[in-house]
């Protein structure tokens, strides 16, 4: 177990270094950063001074190590566009995105898993068929269209929910949250639904397919032959066996949610990292872009670690300790 975690941590560090390298390379592709900082009329001496002060005269590997060192200490440089420290901007934006993604993921699980179980158990029922058809719509409509439709119905026609922004947020330390005010809570509903719809249908279809698969297995037939109740068979035995693939996909999908959040945040003008990233691209704001990459990669790595630990919790076959095997 410990060896496994250590191995995973080392892998994670390698992944992070690779991403950091790509993020760092962004700076090289966009020409001399000095040009971005000083006007065209600056003298050669000024440029050279600045170059030395920023360490840009050093060889490439040294510059990279310097970059990694800064990132580890939480220093991401200064935004070209906003003139603020990138880490300060990220701290402002991170809670908005994470809260949106968390609500969307919970929503996708809370709706997707029960619907998947239901449609798997009542394979030929009318409700199941309807849900499957609807889920096709959910999978095929693009996110921005769903967002705009929801805004049209719930914000414009019905006027029930706000159509943009985070509403009133409350600060708790450096974190800002939507959940402590009614206005903030109302504001997160439409974007969260928009963001989760695709994942929700995906999880539902996945759970359904897995349920159908598991219900065919011998151990389910044997569980029924032992006279266990339907509830014990369906939820105790069958559902638990669908969890490993569901955890895998959910983990991957949380990553996808962070990525898709770019679109949702744009549609709803949600002040998160996705919106920040899009604006950074428009302005070729390299420090912000590269920091976003590093941060998202970091979140992915964390999610993968959690997914692996959950596997351990669910599947005893992964927990084989040598002592027990040796006892055969």
């Amino acid at each position: 177990m410990l060896a496994f975690i250590v191995r995973r941590l080392i892998q994670s560090i390698i992944v992070m270094l690779a991403v950091a390298f790509i993020a760092f390379s962004l700076f090289q592709f966009t020409g001399d950063p000095i040009n971005n900082m000083v006007g065209p009329e600056a003298s050669a001496e000024t440029r050279q001074l600045l170059r030395e002060r920023l360490g840009l005269d050093k060889p490439f590997p040294i510059q990279f190590l310097h970059f990694v060192g800064n990132v580890v200490q939480g220093e991401f440089g200064v935004s070209y566009r906003l003139g603020m420290k990138v880490e300060d901007i990220l701290v402002q934006r991170l809670p908005a995105t994470l809260e949106l993604v968390a609500v969307a993921a919970l929503l996708a699980l809370a709706v997707g898993v029960p619907l998947g179980v239901y449609t798997g158990l009542h394979r030929y029922g009318a409700v199941s068929r309807l849900m499957l058809t609807l889920s096709l719509v959910g999978i095929s409509l693009p996110t921005f269209l769903i967002g705009i439709l929801l805004i049209l119905v719930f914000a414009v026609w019905l006027g029930w929910l706000p159509s943009f922004g985070r509403g009133k947020v409350v600060s708790i330390g450096w974190w800002t949250t939507n959940f402590t005010s009614w206005d903030g809570f109302r504001s997160i509903i439409l974007p969260a639904i928009t963001l989760s719809l695709f994942q929700m249908t995906l999880i539902m279809r996945l759970v359904r397919a897995e349920m159908l698969e598991v219900l065919r297995t011998d151990y389910i037939k044997f569980a029924r032959a032992r006279g266990l109740t339907n509830r014990a068979v369906n939820f105790g035995h069958a559902l638990k066996n669908t969890l490993v693939p569901v955890i895998t996909i959910t983990g991957l999908q949380i990553g996808a949610l962070i990525a898709f959040a770019i679109i949702t945040e744009t549609v709803f003008q949600w002040p998160g990292m996705g919106l920040l990233f899009l604006q950074a691209i428009q302005f070729v704001d390299i420090p912000v872009m590269s920091s976003y990459l590093v941060l998202v990669a970091f979140l992915f790595v964390i999610i993968n670690l959690v997914v692996d630990l959950l596997y351990y919790a669910v599947d005893p076959r992964l927990r084989i300790d040598r002592a027990a095997v040796g006892a055969h």
Binding site: T217, F222, A225
Partner: protein, 328 residues
């Protein structure tokens, strides 16, 4: 109450699969009975309908398969038309089952103890602690060493033979009066097969449990069964005392089977020395289903279908014995 009422009575059971191209009759009006404590061996080539008969008895036919006719009586009352919940209470408690593949009969995510305890507490009015004590006793009874320790282990930590012992413990844990064992050793290593059969035989004798033992292995039948039923293409070709059927087979199909009595532990399927193969359900010929392969076929066999005819202590479905019917 009659003193010697059969424990199980299968009366003109018919199992069908509705398909787009018409109805397939997989089990065609078969009748037999099992007395309390008796071992009935069931033999026949793959696809003869042995497993479907077993599934029909425990009420676990998988749709679209269904019982289309006949009755199944257990201890004098009908069980083929019971509502799911009532039949569930009979499964495991009155009628246990052991399936072919011990490697897939156990849920990989739960310890064997959990699976035993849940089965015990489902059927018997015992506390968790009492059930655990009983589970350990059962594991000891089926010959698992160090049961106090093994009870908390997972299926993957047991070998194939040990797993089948656990499966037998699960089938016996509420002391059922009948066990349906569908090829319980086919998937096991040849060296272990005899042990498992001996165990099953011993336990059932001690507990007075009747057994419907489906097997390919004539050696097992000779050693274990009181009576034997030979199935061919969804019907019973011959049924009678095991000794009788083995020594003096009546039906030409049985004669062919016995002519190739395999060594203990081999698969009769591959040893059938009768020319040709059993017809598919869609291609069952009119008259006697065996007529294309029968060395003794005559005109009548191609038009009329024979029913079981009593010949001495056995019965057979073959026109050769028409008019020789013994009297009860």
């Amino acid at each position: 109450m009659r003193a010697n009422r059969p424990l199980l009575e299968v009366d003109r059971l018919r199992v069908e699969f509705p398909t787009r191209r018409g109805t397939l009759v997989a089990v065609d009006e078969i009748s037999f009975h099992i007395d309390p404590g008796e071992v009935l061996g069931v033999v026949g080539e793959s696809g003869a309908g042995k497993s479907l008969t077993g599934s029909a008895i425990i009420g676990l036919l998988e749709p679209p398969g269904r019982i289309a006719g006949g009755r199944i009586l257990f201890d004098g009352s009908r069980i083929d038309d019971l509502p799911y919940e009532q039949m569930r209470r009979i499964r495991g408690k009155q009628i246990g089952a052991v399936f072919q593949d011990p490697l897939t009969s156990l849920n990989p995510l739960y310890s064997v103890g959990r699976q035993l305890i849940e089965t015990i507490t489902t059927h018997l009015d015992l506390s968790e602690g009492q059930a655990r004590k009983r589970a350990i006793e059962l594991l000891a009874e089926v010959g698992i060493p160090a049961p106090e320790r093994r009870i908390d282990q997972y299926p993957h930590q047991f070998s194939g033979g040990m797993r089948q012992r656990v499966v037998i413990a699960l089938a016996l844990c509420a002391n059922p009066r009948l066990i349906i064992a569908d090829e319980p050793t086919t998937a096991l290593d040849v060296s272990i097969q005899a042990q498992i059969i001996a165990l099953l035989k011993k336990l059932c004798r001690e507990h007075g449990t009747a057994v419907m033992l489906v097997t390919h292995d004539m050696g097992v039948i000779a050693e274990t069964a009181d009576r034997v039923a030979v199935m061919y293409a969804g019907r019973i070709a011959e049924i009678g005392p095991a000794r009788q059927v083995i020594k003096q087979p009546l039906h030409p199909y049985t004669v062919g089977l016995m002519g190739s009595i395999p060594m203990v532990g081999t698969d009769a399927d591959r040893l059938v020395q009768i020319e040709g193969a059993m017809p598919r359900l869609t291609e069952i010929p009119p008259g006697c289903a065996f007529n294309p392969r029968c060395p003794k076929v005559f005109e009548r066999c191609r038009h009329d279908r024979p029913d079981l005819i009593r010949v001495g202590p056995a019965s057979t479905a073959c026109w050769l014995y028409d008019g020789q019917a013994g009297h009860d």
